[in-house]
């Protein structure tokens, strides 16, 4: 870590500055070096809808609406938002906000940015997934924007959380999308309202950011932030241990128990929304050596669920980096229940159900799981195989590399598989998991179980456009109950936890959506410096 003896005093708020300076001096802080788990492919906030790219964007740019670590929505560039018509949301923008080049932020910038997203070419993962259903954005006056959606869209503010607002003046250009991705990568037009400004990007090594003097919120504790890309988890950890970096993303789960005991370090771990579940393909016509597909029978599916000891999975196999669950909605999502009860494993009941279904001696099937995509994925698959084995279902495991696994999954080669799903909007999750499978936007994107219940699909469509929160939550819970408890379309296992490890004199609360933002890293003990609402 580099030490800067000189303490730079932020201009805007002398009180905060004094406190920060007092705390920062003994830390020899001011520069924060971060061990990131990957490198963004571009600095263009409209290029790639992948976590690592979005993390970097959120240092430089801001969305209209943001959320706290617990995923509760919070104002960012918009201070209030409301539905004015079933398909029109109105956002009141924060006044007095300036871009880092000093120009004022207005509704025109919002309209420009939302429009630009859909025009960025060559993207391997277009940001359009977050702008689905947006018909158009209109500036009503300099500080009011209306966004019209194709259908009533209660989850719009949540989706906007990932859409960054750029400066219209600086990011406009002759290309259809204005400044191109290549130009933005070089820093040209990379002007946002966020707490940091871009300084340099040394490909493959690091991105350097500096404090934005124009930032409207409380100034971040760091004059300079270095985001260093260390993809190998062991290398990331050794960089932290040797003092090369101050805080790291995603320490390897195997190292966590040891890290928590280390007096020099601090670990912040939270459950994410990523659900790990077993999918059972009840539609496969041919089944390994059997006349009929046993998974068609709900009793078999239920037996397979009952045979699983989620507590053992969570504590022993996942080493507490998983939060065991019997449902699919994470506690912090809309309709989620904190402290949900776990059904105990019931081996006798599972055997009885299998007998009733006509499989007293069980059967044999393949369980597919990726190796390296999710935390301990192949270990979890082994544990599931042995739990099913005790109930009489023999499992042949197939845990290939991630890319091969998905190739096989998409081809429906697995009668049963372990997969993960990590979105944040409950109604979207219901659709992705349980809506009938197909190629259209409204179909179940990850429904490789080919679960098809017309009643559930209808409820999903209804919930997605229900504007009343209570009614929507009731619907989502009913869908979850029908699909998971009654039909056993999937067998939920756990929600993955995510962690950050840091020097013990830093404070950071890991976010459930795994988006890391340096502005929330504080020297330990600093006065809580939450952004004002």
């Amino acid at each position: 870590m580099k030490c800067f003896v000189r303490v730079v005093v932020p201009r805007q708020n002398l009180m905060v500055a004094a406190v920060l300076a007092a705390l920062a001096a003994p830390l020899c802080a001011q520069t924060l070096t971060v061990g990131m788990k990957g490198e963004p492919m571009s600095l263009d906030p409209g290029f790639r809808a992948i976590t690592i790219d979005m993390e970097v964007s959120q240092h430089i740019f801001e969305p209209l609406v943001t959320s706290g670590p617990d995923m509760k929505l919070a104002p960012a560039l918009a201070t209030e938002w409301k539905l004015v018509e079933p398909t029109v949301w109105e956002f009141k923008l924060r006044s007095g906000v300036k871009f880092s080049d000093g120009t004022p932020f207005t509704a025109d910038d919002v309209v420009f940015s939302l429009d630009r997203l859909l025009k960025v070419p060559n993207s391997p993962s277009p940001m359009a997934v977050f702008a689905r259903g947006i018909k158009q954005a209109k500036a009503v006056d300099p500080l009011v924007v209306r966004i019209e959606t194709e259908t009533p869209s209660p989850s719009l503010p949540r989706s906007l959380e990932r859409l960054m607002i750029m400066s219209k003046k600086r990011a406009s250009g002759p290309a259809p999308e204005g400044k191109t991705t290549a130009q933005l990568n070089a820093g040209d037009g990379l002007i946002g309202t966020g707490p940091f400004v871009f300084a340099s990007w040394n490909r493959g090594a690091e991105i350097v950011l500096e404090r934005n003097p124009q930032y409207w919120g409380p100034p971040p504790a760091w004059q300079k932030v270095v985001l260093r890309f260390i993809t190998n988890p062991a290398a990331r950890l050794s960089a932290l241990l040797s003092g090369g970096v101050d805080i790291i993303e995603d320490p390897a789960p195997d190292d966590l128990p040891r890290l928590m005991k280390d007096v020099q370090l601090k670990v912040s771990s939270v459950p994410t929304t990523r659900l790990i579940y077993i999918g059972l393909d009840g539609a496969a016509p041919d089944f390994q050596g059997l006349a009929a597909n046993p998974l068609k029978d709900v009793r078999v599916r239920r037996a397979l669920s009952m045979a699983i000891d989620r507590k053992v999975l969570g504590e022993r196999i996942m080493d507490d980096v998983g939060l065991p669950t019997a449902g699919v909605i994470a506690p912090m999502m809309e309709g989620g229940t904190p402290e949900a009860k776990l059904p105990p494993a019931d081996l006798a009941g599972a055997k009885k159900l299998l007998q009733e279904a006509g499989y007293p001696n069980g059967f044999t099937m393949t369980l597919g799981a990726p190796n390296g995509r999710y935390i301990n994925d192949s270990k979890v698959a082994q544990a599931v195989a042995s739990m099913w084995g005790r109930a009489g279902v023999k499992v042949s495991l197939d845990t290939p590399a991630t890319a091969i696994f998905f190739k096989n999954l998409v081809a429906y080669d697995y009668p049963s598989h372990i997969a993960g799903w990590g979105d944040t909007v409950s109604t979207d999750r219901m659709r992705a998991l349980f809506a009938a499978r197909g190629d259209k936007p409204g179909d179940g994107a990850t429904n490789y179980e080919r679960y098809n219940n017309a009643e559930v699909t209808a409820m999903i469509n209804r919930a997605a456009s229900t504007l009343d929160e209570k009614e929507r939550i009731a619907l989502v819970r009913k869908i979850e109950k029908t699909a998971v408890e009654d039909d056993v379309a999937v067998i939920p296992l756990h929600f993955e936890k995510t962690a950050m490890a840091m020097r013990k004199d830093l404070d950071y609360t890991t976010r459930a959506d795994q988006i890391y933002m340096s502005q929330y890293v504080k020297p330990a003990g600093a006065v809580a410096n939450e952004r004002s609402k």
Binding site: P124, S125, N202, R203, F229, T231, K440
Partner: protein
């Protein structure tokens, strides 16, 4: 001589074509890049749109044909992930890799060759025995293990050296280099040592074996009989005759260091081309993988050609012929 060079270049073109086909088929069977690259929330329609925009909806032979057509115009495709020309991404990383490889091979040569010579001249000295003993260890240890031990001892316990990244760089000819700053030099020590240790061992053993053989030859005895100083005998008469095998091995090992220091770069987060290759393979960024292999093959072929030409200079008895393979 020009005929020799021309025929070697023609051979190189055929090798490149064959390798490109092999690699193309290889990366093709791994899986569908769209499934790995896209945000999992994307629908089938959105995946299809991305596949079309990247040309992945075409059959393999069409994609290969398009790649060859582009390659003839020096266009090796755009990275799926970054949207930039694959060659540009690779050449941005090459200086870092070369810097590391040159440093490692310099350390290996400056330590390994003298050690080998000394061991040949004074086989019973303790330093010879220790050096040769350790060289067996150096040769048999895998580089990732050496890397981890170096990190544990020198970075984590002693806190003497940084364990990741390139450190502070300074520009020369518009390219950032680490060896021009103190901080950068500190960063290069551990990865360069990791790469150099097995090469030191290799060069020391090779030099000793070759030197022992040369030592008994008549011209060496003649030189001794003339009463020449020992340093001159070893430094001029002996070393000169070791040059051909040494240059061959040093050149080839340098090629391997530059092309395949993938693991070391990834452990030390050294932003070189090898790390780019690993990241690209994991993310199925096919154009980068194919372009990288093309660059490496071309580089190794040229390096070999250069070595062959050097023999002629070092040893006038060697004549190069068009037929020589």
């Amino acid at each position: 001589m020009p005929a020799f060079v021309l025929s070697r270049l023609a051979q190189a073109a055929i090798v490149l074509l064959a390798v490109s086909a092999l690699v193309f088929v290889g990366v093709f069977v791994i899986g569908n890049p769209v499934d790995v690259m896209i945000n999992p929330m994307a629908t089938q329609a959105e995946k299809l749109a991305v596949a079309q925009s990247l040309g992945l909806d075409q059959p393999m032979w069409m994609q290969y044909g398009r790649f060859l057509e582009g390659a003839l115009h020096a266009d090796f495709g755009r990275s799926f992930l970054a949207g930039q020309p694959a060659m540009q991404l690779i050449f941005e990383r090459v200086p870092a890799t070369l810097e590391l490889a040159v440093t490692a091979i310099l350390i290996a040569t400056l330590v390994g060759v003298p050690l080998g010579l000394y061991a040949a001249v004074r086989p019973d000295a303790w330093i010879s025995r220790a050096g040769m003993g350790l060289s067996i260890v150096g040769l048999s240890l895998p580089s990732f293990w050496i890397a981890i031990v170096l990190i544990m001892v020198l970075a984590v316990w002693a806190g003497a050296l940084p364990s990741s990244g390139r450190g502070e760089t300074r520009e020369l000819f518009g390219i950032p280099w680490s060896f021009l700053t103190i901080d950068g030099l500190k960063h290069i020590v551990l990865p360069a040592l990791t790469l150099a240790l097995p090469k030191i061992a290799l060069l020391a053993r090779l030099t000793r074996a070759a030197a022992t053989e040369v030592a008994t030859s008549e011209y060496m005895q003649f030189a001794r009989a003339k009463g020449l100083r020992r340093s001159r005998i070893v430094g001029v008469h002996m070393l000169r005759n070791l040059m051909v095998p040494l240059i061959t091995v040093i050149g080839m090992e340098f090629g391997r260091l530059a092309a395949f220091s993938v693991i070391t770069e990834s452990i030390f987060a050294w932003p070189g081309a090898g790390k780019l290759l690993i990241d690209s393979i994991l993310q199925l960024d096919r154009p980068v993988v194919v372009a990288y292999v093309m660059v490496v093959v071309a580089f190794l072929v040229l390096l070999n050609l250069l070595l062959d030409l050097t023999y002629g200079v070092l040893d006038p008895r060697i004549r190069l012929q068009a037929r020589a393979a």
